[in-house]
């Protein structure tokens, strides 16, 4: 521990404050008892698929395409998840198979 306990505590509060500002601001800007502007309603409808798309890419950001595996474990696992999910539409099954396949690929194949 390099910081004193008080400094550590303040740093934790600063990190939390930053996170909470980003979480609370939209709800403070657009309070629930007011009629929302059509643009806000439109964005509220359109953003979820777009942001989950962003999260898919975000969770893969450290994949090294130029590395020895060339991102193949990720690509294969995502393909299998997509096929299984479109076929069975069972969330836990798709995630379970995809994750197990990925673990086998990174631990034993690549």
């Amino acid at each position: 521990m390099l910081l004193t306990p008080l400094q550590t505590f303040i740093t934790i509060l600063a990190v939390a404050l930053g996170a909470m500002i980003t979480r609370f601001v939209p709800f403070l800007l657009f309070p629930e008892n007011k009629e929302q502007h059509p643009v806000v309603i439109y964005l509220g409808k359109m953003l979820p698929p777009a942001m989950i798309g962003l999260l898919v890419v975000y969770s893969l950001k450290s994949v090294d395409i130029l590395g020895s595996a060339h991102g193949l474990p990720e690509l294969l696992a995502i393909l299998v998840i997509t096929v299984v999910h479109v076929w069975k539409r069972n969330v836990l099954l798709s995630i379970g198979i995809g994750t197990a396949l990925y673990m086998i690929l990174v631990q034993f194949v690549f």
Binding site: F24, G44, P48, H85, T99
Partner: protein
């Protein structure tokens, strides 16, 4: 608590829990890794769990380890946290309608709106017989508890765990992929989802893996606004 409310909570918990199983796996692994990493940098269970309980923001908590091991600078910590967590702004915009009229519980739901909780709560609908407020509460609370409990486990006995968990954190990528597939069932949602993937990929290539999220958000917003007339009202 009255018997009625207890039963309502119970059935909401039963309905919510299966949706959170992938998050349980991912958060326990990543929370545990976080606890171990904090331990290695000289911060024991008390500090790690405090951070997880108070800030509850996975990737920023990892980034904050650097802050905790260099010169004291709370302003830098605040600014970094605002930048790393900026994507939450769009989660809030997405949840304005779903979290409307939920009373005091709403404050907790907003506090605990992580990437994973957002991706589940924006994708699934509570079953008709289930109290909507309790349903969202349990999804949020379970995710919050998994992360904090994982942190506690990691900082107490992390180094005792010997089986090979390499790749297990892929469970969260798998969750996002599956929820993405569930989201894009209508044509409008498909277009929006593809906008999200495409804009983020472009910004990842342009700005590199450490600074692409905010440019991606701006680009997504820009494209959605340009396409508003064609996509919607």
């Amino acid at each position: 608590m009255s018997k009625n409310r207890y039963m309502e909570h119970r059935s909401a918990l039963m309905a919510a829990f299966p949706h959170t199983i992938p998050v349980m796996t991912g958060y326990l692994v990543l929370g545990l890794a976080y606890g171990v990493l904090m331990q290695l940098n000289g911060y024991g269970a008390f500090w790690s769990v405090l951070m997880s309980l108070v800030a509850f923001c996975g990737s920023m908590q990892y980034a904050a380890i650097t802050l905790l091991t260099s010169t004291f600078n709370p302003l830098q910590a605040l600014l970094l946290s605002l930048t790393v967590n900026a994507r939450h702004l769009f989660y809030g915009l997405s949840m304005l309608e779903k979290y409307r009229g939920l009373g005091k519980t709403r404050i907790f739901l907003i506090f605990a709106l992580s990437d994973e909780t957002f991706s589940i709560s924006s994708s699934v609908l509570p079953p008709a017989s289930i109290n909507r407020k309790y349903f969202y509460f349990w999804i949020s609370f379970l995710d919050y508890a998994y992360w904090s409990f994982g942190t506690l486990l990691g900082s107490m006995l992390g180094r005792l765990i010997t089986f090979n968990t390499t790749g297990l954190d892929f469970v969260l990528t798998a969750l996002f992929v599956v929820l993405f597939l569930d989201q894009i069932k209508t044509k409008v949602n498909l277009v929006s989802g593809l906008i999200g993937i495409f804009c983020t990929l472009v910004c990842l290539l342009l700005f590199g893996p450490n600074q692409f999220v905010i440019p991606s958000m701006v680009l997504i917003l820009f494209v959605l606004m340009i396409g508003r007339k064609r996509l919607c009202c």
